[in-house]
């Protein structure tokens, strides 16, 4: 299947994050009644009850992710997450997986730089067992040697692939440039050496420190009542400690001196990742920045970069930008790919558009269209139980409040042309843009050296 547009893989998460942070309409609020459930044992979750289908989705996360990995053991958080469903309690890896599979229970664990998260989806008839298996995975993981070795080998194969994947090379390179002295610059998936160095004791210590209730956020959507959910929350998460001693990650500011680093690689098309400092989620100007990004490159087909670089000149199949708001830093990043001969032209157009929006701001029509898009797009995220639960989880973790959806449209409407001009002018800094170009670009000067991979 060929699609007309595809976001670059690394961008998808950034853009989704942006959407999740920013989506709501009054329409959706009416359709979605969010309840705050507090279990008898004091565990809180947000719930959207929906009994139309015998399915329940649960999304949860603990604050703190791969950025807490100790130096030399990068990949610890990710490997730990991958091993939680590889055997727990009395069940070895195969028995555990079969127990889930034969009940059509979908369970997974994941990490990002700032999060250790999990998803559970189950049919109503297997709900109690699903939560019990989740409890086992969180509190009684086995870390059997054969499973550990198998997962390590899978990680190492994945890394070998990433080292040959131009997209991964570009995006890993960009974060190394933007965060040379901070955990955000390190490869969250680790290296073959650092994965090799991770021991079971490290993983057990990670869980003990990280999986604390004070850092836990939970959202559920589907076929369950608040009372039923409350009881299952206690049974599942109740035995976790209230507090842990997770490593603190310092706040930081991304590199802003700008420049271009070329990673020479024999391929017909150069892959480019670029970025500069962004806007924190709790900044009062966040929505203005979100609108600026939408007009610049966030709106896929409708954005200025897409119009100028793709539609007008046919330089790329896809170009887009996104605001990535992490817990300790914020960046505005983007990506494109073009034949080697036209990289210089593409970067020139990109910088010019950056400059033009910073200097002139958007037109009245662009601003109106952007506000209309940003307010209207929220409801699209409510496509399924798990996507609704993900939205609820993001709102909680960003401290936006349970009434966020009701307030959101108003806050967006309140953004004025003056706000957007001011924010565009302060935010968009062409000279602060760092580029990583993977390929054999013609006429592009490399004036930055990538910090080595750790």
């Amino acid at each position: 299947m060929m699609a007309r547009f595809r976001s670059l893989p690394q961008l998808v998460s950034t853009l989704l994050l942006g959407l999740l942070l920013c989506l709501a309409t009054p329409l959706a609020a009416r359709a979605m009644d969010i309840q705050k459930v507090v279990s008898p044992g004091g565990i809180e979750a947000w719930l959207v009850e929906d009994h139309s289908n015998p399915v329940l989705a649960v999304e949860f996360a603990f604050r703190g992710g791969s950025a807490t990995d100790p130096e030399g053991k990068e990949g610890l958080a990710g490997l730990t997450a991958a091993l939680l469903d590889e055997g727990a309690g009395e069940l070895d890896s195969t028995a555990f997986q079969e127990a889930l599979d034969n009940r059509s229970i979908r369970m997974s664990f994941n990490t990002s730089r700032d999060r250790f998260s999990g998803s559970l989806m189950t049919l109503t008839r297997n709900r109690d067992e699903a939560f019990d298996y989740l409890r086992m995975a969180l509190t009684e993981p086995r870390f059997d040697d054969s499973a550990v070795q198998r997962l390590k080998s899978q990680y190492q194969v994945m890394q070998a692939r990433r080292l040959q994947d131009p997209q991964s090379l570009a995006w890993n390179g960009l974060y190394r440039l933007l965060f040379p002295d901070h955990p955000y610059g390190r490869p969250s998936e680790g290296t073959p050496e650092s994965i090799g160095a991770v021991e079971v004791a490290d993983m057990r210590a990670f869980l003990e420190n990280q999986l604390a209730r004070e850092r836990l956020y939970i959202a559920a959507t589907g076929d369950i009542t608040p009372k039923e959910l409350g009881e299952l929350l206690d049974e599942t998460f109740g035995s976790l400690p209230e507090e842990g001693t997770a490593t603190e990650v310092p706040d930081t500011t991304p590199h802003s001196a700008g420049g271009v680093a070329v990673v020479e690689r024999e391929q017909p098309q150069s892959v480019v990742a670029f970025g500069q400092p962004g806007m924190a989620r709790d900044d009062p100007d966040f929505f203005a920045a979100y609108i600026v990004n939408y007009i610049l490159g966030g709106g896929s087909f409708a954005s200025r970069l897409n119009e100028e670089i793709r539609q007008e000149r046919g330089l790329v199949y896809s170009v887009s930008t996104g605001l990535n708001t992490m817990d300790h830093a914020a960046v505005l990043t983007g990506g494109l790919a073009t034949q080697n001969a036209r990289v210089a032209e593409s970067l020139a157009v990109l910088r010019a558009e950056w400059q033009r929006l910073a200097e002139e701001g958007p037109t009245e029509e662009e601003l109106a269209n952007a506000k209309s898009y940003v307010t209207g797009a929220f409801a699209r995220q409510l496509n399924s139980s798990d996507s609704i639960a993900s939205v609820l989880l993001s709102i909680q973790m960003d401290n936006l409040g349970i009434d966020y959806i009701d307030r959101r449209t108003e806050e967006i409407d309140a953004v004025s042309m003056e706000d957007v001009r001011r924010v565009a002018s302060a935010l968009l800094q062409p000279e602060a843009l760092s580029f990583v170009v993977v390929g054999q670009p013609e006429g592009v000067e490399s004036d930055l050296v990538l910090p080595p991979r750790e």
Partner: protein, 447 residues
């Protein structure tokens, strides 16, 4: 599809949930006087809907020498009509918070918008307008051809595994156009222009060759009223029969190998020709595609035979999987693949993969694993119906590849009837080396 990473994810999701039971989704269907078939899947969980138009034409219908025209036309469909400026379609949809896109496959071309449910009128007006009024200016067509060439560079030229997939397909089909890449061969893409695109458009894009699907927060009455208003006046036109050549008897197994310093993850796959719902192979029956889905389920996946044996028990592989899709107008494929653990021997992994096939053919499958696979497949119905837009994508694919709504409705029952003997017979039929291509992706050390 086979060679594309991002859309692959999308299709894998559908393939894992091949699940659309009409009595569950309660789709309603009617046909306008001009032959446009309309399907409605009401679902009011959120105030959104997905509006799709599917054309019964894809890359396998392209004239020889014009590979890529179906996909190029799909791109050009956003370049305007006498009522809508180039690019305006997407701008209008975005302004309402909607998302629009399109995709092309061998057998179909699909256009969709997901948007607030009170904007159905607007997206229908836009979509109906471009069913007849496409205008193509050179100044729009030329840059878009460059866009497609960049798309090809991203997907194929920069990606050794996609290059291998292209060769595997070309080798698997000796004669049938499924052997050509959907995006087209590069030299032929370069030759495509507005006239060729308009010719293809005027040949195939007609209401009587299209299916309109609306899934989400709407009613059949509303869809009927709006469809009459916007699509009802488009005249029916004669559309040619889809002329597909048949794949001849294949006499020998084939092997294609690609070695490149830029391969980070070596792998071996074996692709076998297989029957689809719509097209038999050898002495396959109507039940065979269902049996093959059960076979796929019990071989692939985390608890399937391949992963359990090659990855968990023998510890020689990092990954192993199977894949089969029953929805295809002509033949389909059943494929299996293995990725060795780092440093492990590719040949050893391939031998172990083949041994699994041999073992399965010799010893058969157990009643228990068939029972569990059937149950998982039937359970996937509930997950599939949990999505608002998913059913629209699934139904469109089924209806453009020879199925009807009753077939979709009967899916869980048909899966539930599959026996171990049928699975064994299907395996016997499909795992024929003479109808297979082995694709080997090797990492070549840098000198």
């Amino acid at each position: 599809m086979r060679n594309l990473l991002a859309p692959l994810v999308f299709f894998v999701t559908l393939a894992l949930a091949p699940v659309v039971q009409a009595q569950v989704f309660e789709p309603e269907s009617f046909t306008l006087d001009n032959g446009l078939q309309v399907v409605v899947v009401p679902n009011d969980r959120a105030p959104i809907l997905t509006h799709m138009v599917w054309y019964r034409v894809g890359s396998a219908d392209e004239p020889v020498g014009q590979s890529g025209i179906a996909h190029f036309l799909e791109h050009l469909m956003f370049k305007g009509t006498d009522k809508v400026e180039p690019g305006e379609f997407s701008r209008l949809v975005a302004r309402e918070g909607g998302q629009d896109n399109a995709y092309t496959s061998y057998d179909f071309t699909a256009y969709f918008q997901t948007i607030a449910s009170d904007r159905l009128d607007m997206v229908m007006e836009l979509e109906a307008d471009r069913m007849t009024g496409l205008l193509l200016e050179e100044s729009e067509v030329n840059p878009e051809r460059d866009v497609v060439l960049e798309e090809r560079r991203s997907r194929v030229d920069n990606e050794p595994s996609s290059q291998l997939s292209e060769m595997v397909s070309a080798a698997l089909y000796l004669h049938h156009p499924y052997g050509r890449p959907i995006i087209g061969w590069e030299d032929e893409i370069r030759q495509l222009d507005a006239d060729i695109a308009l010719d293809f458009y005027e040949t195939w894009y007609a209401p009587n060759n299209a299916i309109l699907i609306v899934a989400g927060d709407t009613t059949v009455e509303e869809v009927r009223r709006l469809a009459e208003t916007h699509y009802g006046d488009i005249p029916e036109r004669a559309v040619p029969e889809r002329q597909r050549v048949e794949e001849p008897r294949q006499w020998a197994s084939r092997r294609v190998e690609l070695a490149d310093t830029q391969v980070g993850q070596p792998s071996v796959s074996i692709s076998y020709l297989a029957p689809s719902y719509n097209t038999a192979l050898g002495d396959s029956s109507d039940a065979t595609p269902y049996a093959l889905q059960v076979l796929d389920e019990l071989m692939g996946g985390r608890t399937g035979r391949l992963y359990q044996e090659l990855v968990v028990n023998q510890e020689i592989a990092a990954g192993a999987s199977a894949g089969y899709r029953a929805n295809s107008l002509d033949l389909s494929e059943f494929s299996i693949s293995v990725t060795p653990r780092k440093g492990d021997d590719l040949a050893k992994a391939e031998a172990a993969l083949r041994a699994e096939i041999t073992g399965l053919l010799e010893d058969g499958v157990s009643e228990q694993e068939v029972e569990q696979a059937r149950q998982r497949l039937m359970d996937s119905v509930a997950y599939a119906q949990d999505s608002v837009s998913g059913p629209a994508h699934f139904i469109g694919r089924a209806l453009t590849t020879g199925q009807d709504l009753k077939d979709i409705e009967a899916w869980p029952d048909r899966i539930g009837e599959v026996t171990a003997e049928e699975v064994e017979a299907a395996a016997e039929l499909v795992f024929d080396p003479n109808r297979s291509v082995t694709g080997v992706l090797k990492s070549e050390p840098t000198s």
